[in-house]
Symmetry: C2
């Protein structure tokens, strides 16, 4: 028979999976001899059993709860429902990972019409007893029976009005007795049955309610954001009640062993005498800083301080603790590793090493890679943010905070920014490559369509610009220069603010503060670099981004998207000439115009990367992305190009594709137009020769995208090698270069042994690989993925975290097959996943050589790579 319930004294800190964080730590504190109100924990397995049995708590579990209850009553020397010495408990959720506020809590359970009298007599405090009872009724009704709290609050308000008082505390015991009576009537009226008087019934109902709250929408969303599997389930801790509101010798508080904002080594927190936790949260009374406890009650302070010190030493990490003082006696209700800001995380980790508590490796593991984001991007001023109103929420596509005036076109963004230097926020349905200059001058970008790998998201991350994408509630009307959101209209020039880290949109100006990087950052990153096995490169398309990447520690460029260079104003017309060219000669002529510019681009990149590898991907997108779609623009372009509108429109029509993602792009372009690959090769090689003459030693890596078949690669590689070798020979120099491919078509992964015959490196393009493996278009999936989350089909967005089971299986196959053919093949990843810590860990585990990500994610990837190698060291 499975054991579903553990007394606190039966458990310990290692049993987190079974007892949840809260339950395990209560057990651990018990075993450390600390003053913990005793109780028991119903395990996560019981929760899973509840869901497996279609939301029924089995009799077996009920029996075990009752046994544990009896044992706890014995320890407490009290009895459930006892009219003289009643036993009361709290019922709290506790998952493996902390999910603060996501699930429900019930306090004072065990009160009924009889035991309330016992409590009143025992404490000699009827006011306290009835106040506890009315709180319990309200909480039970709300949490267990799904009855709106407002029903009861209304009665409380009426009572206060009748008594002519303002504060709850001004009501006396008789008032509260009357109120309890009203609550019980209201409960029965709404529920159709009387409030349960049997504490055991109350308890099982409460445990069930906590199990049920594991599946509430709030918890589900939190889990998805934090990658907590639904399958983990929650445990439920049932703990003897202690009361901080039994008079001025009682109290309650929370404290951290170090300052969670900046990491300073100090006891940090607050407390309140004669109060329960709720009162602190409600904000009616102002709690005192914990330091004042020292003068208020030095003995208690020292006792608590001693416990705090012990807990930090025991857990070897900063602790976040809750305590209650009941009639002068200190009780510990909870301890856990404390949440902290990135800045604090760095300082605490480094201090703990200096204090001899942690090794450098352990310190590195104490800092969450994703946290670093907040150090690298502007953030809102927290005080200012409190006042701000969220008007919509989208995808947190690129982190950081932005505030500025709404503009709807890239041109207008430039104009308005130039006019007065005040920030602007670019709002569009979706961005296209033509918007890039507008994006550069904007503080943030909001799009109403598009996902985590949409154009706006990818480009914004690349330039470290804040972006909230796919805000479905925002309806953009570009013509009238306004957008509508839930009935409100925002016009050009109105202020809005974006939080790219949470996806929230605020309908007003919110003060921001700049990113700051301290010395601690450099120190910890240096440790991380010591411990990682993966190289970290950056995706950068121009010298500006390359410079950022280099400064953030990138060890090369893993992806230079050459097409991004094609959109710049001085070359787009040559690109378009190339596209409308009717034959090889015309096309070659147009390409010749692009050659010197591409060569300069590459020279710039090589120079910024100071000899590190630069991987250059050849032209990838379908050609129609380079031509306008609106008739007016086509007419204008035709005139520019000396063509008739009809001829140009026909060319554009011919470029139309039903599914451009699966169309004429990538290597397919080079197969049709080998002259493009020829020009790009010439630029890559001539640029390398030029900078190497200045003393560098660049080894370019030429990357052919979208290969699915060896012969495709061979065809284009022959063009590349012929061109490169001729130029190298003519220049009379020695230049090494590599030709490789992206693995982004499922077939390429399946045939990787074949493809490795000619590919000198692989780089996983996990954006496309995810699209094709799932059969999802990243541009369209937003529509139905929401249903996939609410219906628990997907736990997370496969474009945000590599799908390790499916896409990952293909990646593992490709790694294995590729190495069979070419044991020393260089393996990297340049999809958006390259900057996602979970995905970086996966890449480490399957044996890649490097990850490549947006410049601003380079530190995150470095730290994630260190975590991965510390957890699972590479031989």
């Amino acid at each position: 028979m499975a054991k579903y319930v553990y007394l606190f004294k039966e458990g310990n800190a290692t049993m987190k999976n079974l007892l949840g964080g809260k339950g395990a730590n209560l057990a651990e504190m018990t075993s450390l001899g600390m003053p913990v109100p005793q109780g028991f924990t119903v395990t996560t397995e019981a929760c899973n059993d509840y869901y497996a049995k279609k939301k029924v708590v089995s009799q077996e579990i009920v029996d075990q709860i009752h046994d544990a209850l009896a044992a706890t009553e014995k320890i407490a020397g009290k009895k459930f429902g006892d009219p003289k010495n009643p036993f009361l408990v709290s019922v709290r959720s506790g998952a493996r990972a902390s999910m603060p506020g996501m699930m429900d809590t019930i306090l004072n359970l065990g009160l009924n019409d009889v035991s309330v009298k016992g409590l009143a007599a025992l404490t000699d405090n009827p006011r306290f007893a009835y106040d506890s009872y009315r709180r319990f009724i309200q909480m039970f009704a709300d949490v267990v029976m799904d009855i709106e709290k407002a029903n009861f609050e209304h009665l409380l308000e009426e009572m206060k009005k009748a008594r002519g008082v303002e504060l709850d505390t001004e009501l006396n015991a008789n008032d509260l007795i009357e109120l309890v009576g009203q609550f019980l009537v209201k409960y029965e009226e709404l529920k159709g049955e009387a409030f349960p008087q049997d504490p055991k019934v109350q308890l099982i109902e409460a445990v069930t309610a906590v199990f049920r709250s594991w599946d509430n929408p709030r918890a589900n969303t939190y889990r998805r954001m934090n990658h907590i599997p639904y399958e983990w389930g929650t445990a439920v801790s049932v703990q003897s009640m202690v009361f901080g509101n039994m008079g001025e010798d009682s109290g309650t508080g929370v404290a951290f062993t170090r300052n969670p904002s900046d990491g300073t080594k100090e006891l940090y927190g607050e407390y309140l005498f004669n109060a329960q936790g709720e009162d602190v949260v409600a904000g009616i009374r102002t709690p005192k800083p914990i330091s004042e406890l020292e003068s208020d009650n030095p003995k208690l302070y020292n006792e608590f301080n001693e416990i705090a010190r012990k807990l930090e030493a025991h857990y070897r990490d900063m602790q976040d603790m809750e305590f209650t003082i009941e009639r002068g006696k200190l009780y510990m209700l909870q301890t856990r590793n404390g949440k902290r800001t990135a800045q604090a995380a760095l300082k605490i980790a480094i201090d703990l090493v200096e204090e001899g508590v942690l090794t450098e490796q352990e310190a590195v593991l104490k800092v969450e890679p994703a946290q670093l984001d907040s150090l690298l991007h502007p953030q809102f001023n927290p005080a200012a943010l409190k006042e701000a109103k969220v008007i919509a929420t989208g995808l947190n596509a690129s982190p950081g905070a932005a505030t500025g005036r709404v503009v709807f076109t890239a041109d207008r963004a430039r104009e308005m920014k130039a006019l007065d230097g005040l920030p602007v926020v670019l709002v569009r349905q979706e961005t296209s490559p033509e918007d890039i200059e507008g994006m550069i001058v904007s503080s943030g970008i909001l799009t109403s369509r598009g996902g985590m790998t949409s154009h706006a998201a990818v480009v914004a991350r690349g330039m470290g610009r804040c972006c909230v994408a796919g805000v479905g509630a925002v309806h953009v009307d570009e013509k009238n220069k306004e957008f509508e959101v839930n009935g409100e209209i925002y016009k050009e020039g109105d202020w809005i603010s974006l939080d790219g880290s949470t996806g929230k949109v605020y309908g007003q100006k919110v003060e921001t503060q700049d990113a700051t990087v301290s010395g601690d950052f450099g120190k910890l990153m240096a440790w991380a670099d010591k411990f990682r096995a993966l190289d970290v490169r950056a995706n950068a398309d121009n010298p500006r981004d390359a410079k950022v990447a280099y400064n953030y520690g990138a060890q090369g460029i893993g992806l230079c998207r050459t097409e991004h260079m094609f959109f710049e104003a001085d070359r787009i017309s040559a690109v378009r000439e190339m596209i409308v060219a009717k034959n090889v000669e015309e096309r070659t002529k147009a390409l010749a115009k692009l050659l010197p510019m591409q060569r300069e681009d590459f020279i710039g990149l090589y120079k910024e990367m100071k000899g590190y590898a630069v991987t250059i991907r050849y032209l990838d997108p379908p050609l129609h992305e380079f031509v306008p779609t609106e008739k007016d623009d086509i007419v204008a372009l035709a005139k520019d190009m000396g063509l008739t509108y009809e001829v140009l429109q026909k060319t554009i029509d011919e470029l139309h594709e039903t599914n451009p993602m699966l169309g004429h792009r990538g290597v397919r372009l080079s197969v049709t137009y080998p002259e493009i690959a020829k020009m790009q090769t010439q630029a890559v090689i001539e640029a390398a020769i030029a900078v190497n003459k200045e003393g560098m030693s660049v080894v370019p890596e030429i990357m052919i995208p979208l290969v699915g078949e060896l012969k495709e690669l061979q065809y284009v590689k022959a063009v590349v090698v012929e061109t490169a070798d001729r130029i190298i020979k003519e220049a009379g120099v020695d230049l090494k270069y590599y030709v490789g491919t992206m693995i982004e078509i499922p077939r390429a992964a399946l045939m990787a042994d074949e493809i490795a015959k000619d590919a000198e490196f692989f780089s996983f393009g996990t954006n496309d690989l995810t699209q094709m493996t799932f059969g999802f278009s990243r541009d369209d999936a937003g529509k139905f993925l929401a249903d996939y989350y609410t219906k628990k089909i997907f736990a997370s967005d496969p474009f945000a975290h590599i799908d390790q089971l499916g896409v990952g299986k293909l990646m593992k196959m490709a790694v294995e097959l590729g190495r069979q053919t070419r044991p020393d093949i260089k393996l990297g990843i340049c999809g958006e996943h390259g900057g996602d810590p979970i995905s970086v860990e996966f890449c480490h585990n399957i044996g890649l050589s490097y990850v490549s990500c947006s410049p601003f994610r380079v530190p995150i990837a470095r730290l994630a790579a260190a975590h991965a190698n510390i957890k699972n060291p590479r031989k």
Copy 2:
């Protein structure tokens, strides 16, 4: 050292891969003691070596050729270039598979200014000698040196004009000596060097030219059409010349051992005295039927007849032979299994069994599955076809021949057909489901866009209608009711004709003849059914197609695309109501209107299939396929539906997808709108209950499309099972049904072990699986696939034949993983590949249970399945 050259007497018929068909059969006839002019064969490996060495014939091979030449000279008792007794040879290509006329041939090689005199003296026939020499010069110049034949033909014409004669034969020896002189001068003038006088040089050049011709565009196209791998290479046979033009005791001819048109057992062919093969082909003189040889020269006839009889018995198949008579002596130049019509193939196979020559299994193998097509569809009258002009060529999307008047809309097709009953051909850019009724009344369909699996192609194959798709040269102007092709305009009402088996379009009326199926067909198919292991089902969406399928021997329906039912005029409005519904209630109301119609559809299908399994796929396409795209139509629809244009347009805009192939479709629709799956389940189950009450025993198979993740399937399966079980229980009956899934997303194949936990069957949707594995959109790939063929990246269209290496690897994984979880899982295929013989063989080999294809391809699949199992019997 590899052996690259074999004397005829060193080889035999089993060495086809090395010696090519021609070389192997010449060797075999030699070993049978038949009169074969001796020679040798340069192997296919030598050809591959030539290409591997970048088009150079290695010295090693040259040496081996010279050795074989010396041995052959010895046998012939003649010497190359001998002024008295010169040795002459023919040089012919010969691949493993017959590729008639695709590569080049050179006759009379060995002639030069000296040996021509020897030939003249030896034969006492200078006219013959110089005529042979001038033909050789012309052929050598053309084939080896790429000099236009016209240059020499012009000189010949001038000479005839000067001599005042009409026929070549009217020129005398002196004329020809003069002409040879002119030819040699012309050759030198055009080539810049003298005609090679050294026969050994001529020989190596000629062999090289034959190798080279393996790679000519004609040969490449032929190979792709006939699935002959480029890697096979061609052999080259060098054979002593014999002359059928040495006088009236000489001659040449071709004959079959049975009539290749109808299969009658008779010596069938024709011959010509005093002629070379060329003369027969040129058509200047009319050859005589072979039967006349019996009276002309009974001894020769008997000798030949005896050889023919022996060869057929030896090869156990109808033979196609070439022979030459030189001065009364019979020489065999070639034998091979003869090409034949489908009708003849059936008769010959059955007759050979009755004659005791073949077993039934062997007879089944003698009929090519693809050939059956011509029996099942109308064909052009061959005589009428000779006169017809090809105006364009497209994809041979659905076989058969059609002639009719051009129409551009489905409505017009119906009107014109109704008016006078004369046939119409529907011409469109692409068809959409709204065109179906027009397609039904049309004799053929031409589209200017779209591939082998476009809507037009799939639907036309389903209804057995002729279709030529993706005719890029045709520019359709629907507004003006005309199309333009290479500058010519065809208007509504003009006659055109389509050959759906070749993809040819004719600009006029061409007489067709109906399909005819003889008793032989039934007999052979019955044998085929005995020997196959795979079941054959059909893809059918309505009772009409199901009936055809049943009559062609389908053992069930493997794919009923329910959405095709949604387009019929009486239900499209309910479908549209469902789409614009703003909530579940409205949607459910619209679905309720569809329910009775779907139920009737399924009742009809079940009845036609008489108890065989019927697999019903739930709604698959993106919803926007059901709404109009043109503003006028939207305005009209909005009016119909009582909506404003703006509201409807907005709904339609919201349905827009960037890549609909990867969008909101398949199981994703059922996840978002489970009420659709509910309605479809109700229809499927209620229909089954209804027909089973009438004494049938239908077991419906419910197929969820586009699944990529187990939980997706589980979610929808729960809806299906809940609905089905409730209805079954309410009806108080017993009804078994299955719920399975398509495997068409790469991830589904990768995770097949997981998915098989809930899928009771798999059906491979190889259209989508091919699209996603390759990252090709079938609608767009036409644009670049042509380059892939000419650049030899792809040997064939992966949408026509399963890509066994890539897509096939995923299929094999899925079969293996699926069986791990569920050993008895039923496995089928319902993609377009199910009717392709090569793909059927693959499906057999990987262990599928059945293939499902268009009704008209069912016989082909049955025969292909028999071939597969005879070649590789399933245990």
